[in-house]
Symmetry: C2
């Protein structure tokens, strides 16, 4: 007998028929003798409908009241899912975040979980109940309803699995696992049986939309065994997210060097040209950007021969205009920069793999592959298990395809 | 400075525009220096939508889960109403039943309020907040969400007013007060400036749909000053519900003898003919009816000359078939009744007035008025402040009109 936490997203519970499917899967796990905790999101579209209602009254709604309104989305789904289970003859009980007591801080609309009281859930599980818990929501110390922000249901699932010491946390989505890259770009993309937490983190942050990055961090921190599965297929083991301790690293020979290719076109590049090459320049440029609450991803500085340097960084596309304005208003004159320019026609492509730590030559193979196709590399950034390059947006799909082939990701 | 509880029903908060109107009225009371607690129902149609969703999964939904689902209706409205107030620059805070802690028993879908914790509300009111409380819902001792049943928002309003020692509980509806009778039937019907609790109770139970009977009982028990007002008009003082202690009875001369005419056509008449006239018969007939959970309203027994008796009672129209089946299966043979018949083409018309206690002749005036129109009376039932008759349904409107005129209700 195992204790399993299953999390179902909005598309998996989009209507009563799909909720019935979820109940049938839960019933199968129950009939195998497992204890099951189900975490559900709001029915797809519901959260946006509720936010829309709130915005009719207040353009930028008061966050406490917005949380009170939006949290009803998951509350409806837990009741519905419990009903579907009871209809199948399964003992089931719904829990709001407040009823579990998922204690969070008081940052409405983006609260962080502080503690989960597992007492009631454990008692109900031991009494044979399936516990259906509302994702995405909690309660602060004063009893105010909070939400964890978009994608927070994944985090709820992982946090519950950690608190209950669950054997596995299964995240059901509309894809059947983590792929070597997006199958819409590379039809030969292959589902990975397993992937390390660190690789998953890189793939998630690099634009693979399978799991919310915060939930993956959470799983890593609490060593929760995480599995991504499709809610629309009954077959398949999905992709297991492992941790180095699980032994993958020790047995490096059998593992592929590269796990996948991530990409995204959400970023824009900002270049500050002809900056005097002296200490404190990076801070003088990025300080005002940070003060304006603009997140920066890649940062590169190249020193030229003439005593000046070029400074380049990337921000989200939506914030390019704001970042340029900040630089022109508050920075350019100050540091005496020659020119400030922005480019939002870029894409980032990353090769991710835990195996690359012990294998030299990945970078050179990547660069040669791109060069052979005539794709110019504008920026390079590396971590222990990732090499990311910024290229012209129009070459993005080509780059992903040739890299996928070069690293032989289509073969198991 | 007064403390006022205002309750708004579903039609008063049916959409964001109407919620804005509610906020404007609350703002006016606030600007007069009053403390205001607002109780709101779900936006009209929402409760039925949610019940419909639940029924797609389970024909007779588990009551605990149904309450979890349905209670989200009011939760959305409290957030929306608080937003509308905040947008007007008023400090406001929403409260679910659980957040107030409206403690109820555990009878899901028809829970009764046991206690209201007024601590948090008082503190917020004293800090200048308008508290917006979800009607219709509470929480049991185990933290399960409960609902009070249809119309329960009125009860929430009155119970809060009692717990907080409010100066007045204002019930906003789509009518502007209590009338001598339904203006759709008698255009001359007149709004009553005040009505006693007992009369209101009779009018409500006799079919006047203005207030839920349970909330009126509650108001009487806790001596809450209750006022019925229109949420669609800014003028008018509505109708104040008074208690005898308020002095109305002492000053009987100035009060009308009759306050109003109530009517309803929701009942059906069941007659058991030719029953042996001996002790225990009433119990033998009504026991099985009660066991089948069928509510009985009027009961009449007439003894004939031949040692048999006829026994007649009324039930809700929807339950006539069930009641007849119970009688034929379990009673008829047993008590050797000659015949059992049902008639759902009846209507009940009642004359209500606290003044009739000290005025003889009301009954005879009522019966004469009906006789003059050739309306046959099938059943009569009286209480201290009411005379109700059952007549053929087709004469109902005529009866109401002629009685309204006979008792001069059109003149103040």
């Amino acid at each position: 007998m195992a204790l399993i936490v299953q999390k179902y997203g909005g598309t998996s519970v989009a209507n009563p028929e799909r909720i019935r499917n979820v109940a049938r899967r839960v019933a199968r796990y129950k009939s195998m003798g497992h204890q099951v905790v189900v975490v559900v999101s709001a029915m797809s579209g519901e959260t946006n409908r509720l936010i829309g209602l709130a915005r009719e009254l207040m353009e930028d709604p008061d966050p406490r009241e917005l949380d009170t309104i939006v949290s009803t989305g998951e509350q409806v789904t837990i009741g519905m899912t419990a009903l579907a289970l009871i209809e199948l003859g399964i003992k089931a009980k719904s829990y709001t975040g407040a009823q579990v007591k998922i204690l969070t801080d008081d940052s409405h609309t983006k609260a962080r979980i502080l503690n989960i009281d597992q007492h009631n859930l454990k008692a109900d599980l031991d009494a044979g109940y399936v516990c259906v818990v509302a994702g995405f929501q909690g309660v602060d110390a004063q009893g105010n309803i909070t939400t964890l922000g978009r994608g927070g249901s994944d985090t709820t699932g992982v946090a519950l699995a950690a608190a209950l010491g669950a054997d596995e946390c299964q995240i059901y989505t509309d894809v059947d696992g983590v792929y070597t890259t997006d199958p819409r770009v590379v039809p030969e993309a292959r589902r990975l049986k397993s992937i390390t937490f660190e690789e998953m983190l890189e793939l998630a942050s690099q634009g693979s939309k399978v799991l919310q990055i915060r939930s993956v961090e959470f799983a890593g921190k609490y060593k929760v065994k995480l599995r991504v599965l499709s809610s629309f297929e009954d077959e398949g083991d999905g992709t297991l997210i492992t941790f180095e301790e699980d032994g993958k690293d020790e047995d490096n020979m059998e593992n592929p060097i590269i796990s996948g290719i991530a990409f995204n076109r959400d970023e824009a590049k900002i270049t500050v040209l002809g900056v005097p090459d002296k200490p404190g320049i990076a801070y003088q440029i990025l300080g005002p950007i940070a003060d304006a609450n603009i997140d920066v991803d890649m940062i590169i500085q190249n020193t030229g021969a003439d005593g000046t340097t070029d400074f380049t960084f990337t921000v989200h596309k939506n914030e390019m205009g704001k970042a340029l304005a900040v630089l022109r208003d508050k920075v350019q004159g100050h540091i005496n920069a020659r020119e400030i320019s922005g480019d939002d026609k870029i894409a980032k492509v990353s090769v991710v793999g835990i195996g690359m730590r012990s294998h030299v030559g990945i970078a050179s193979q990547m660069f040669r592959t791109l060069a052979e196709e005539g794709i110019n590399i504008q920026m390079i950034s590396t971590s222990e298990i990732k090499i990311a390059v910024v290229i012209d947006e129009k070459y993005m799909e080509l780059a992903v395809r040739v890299l996928h082939k070069a690293f032989e990701l289509e073969s198991a």
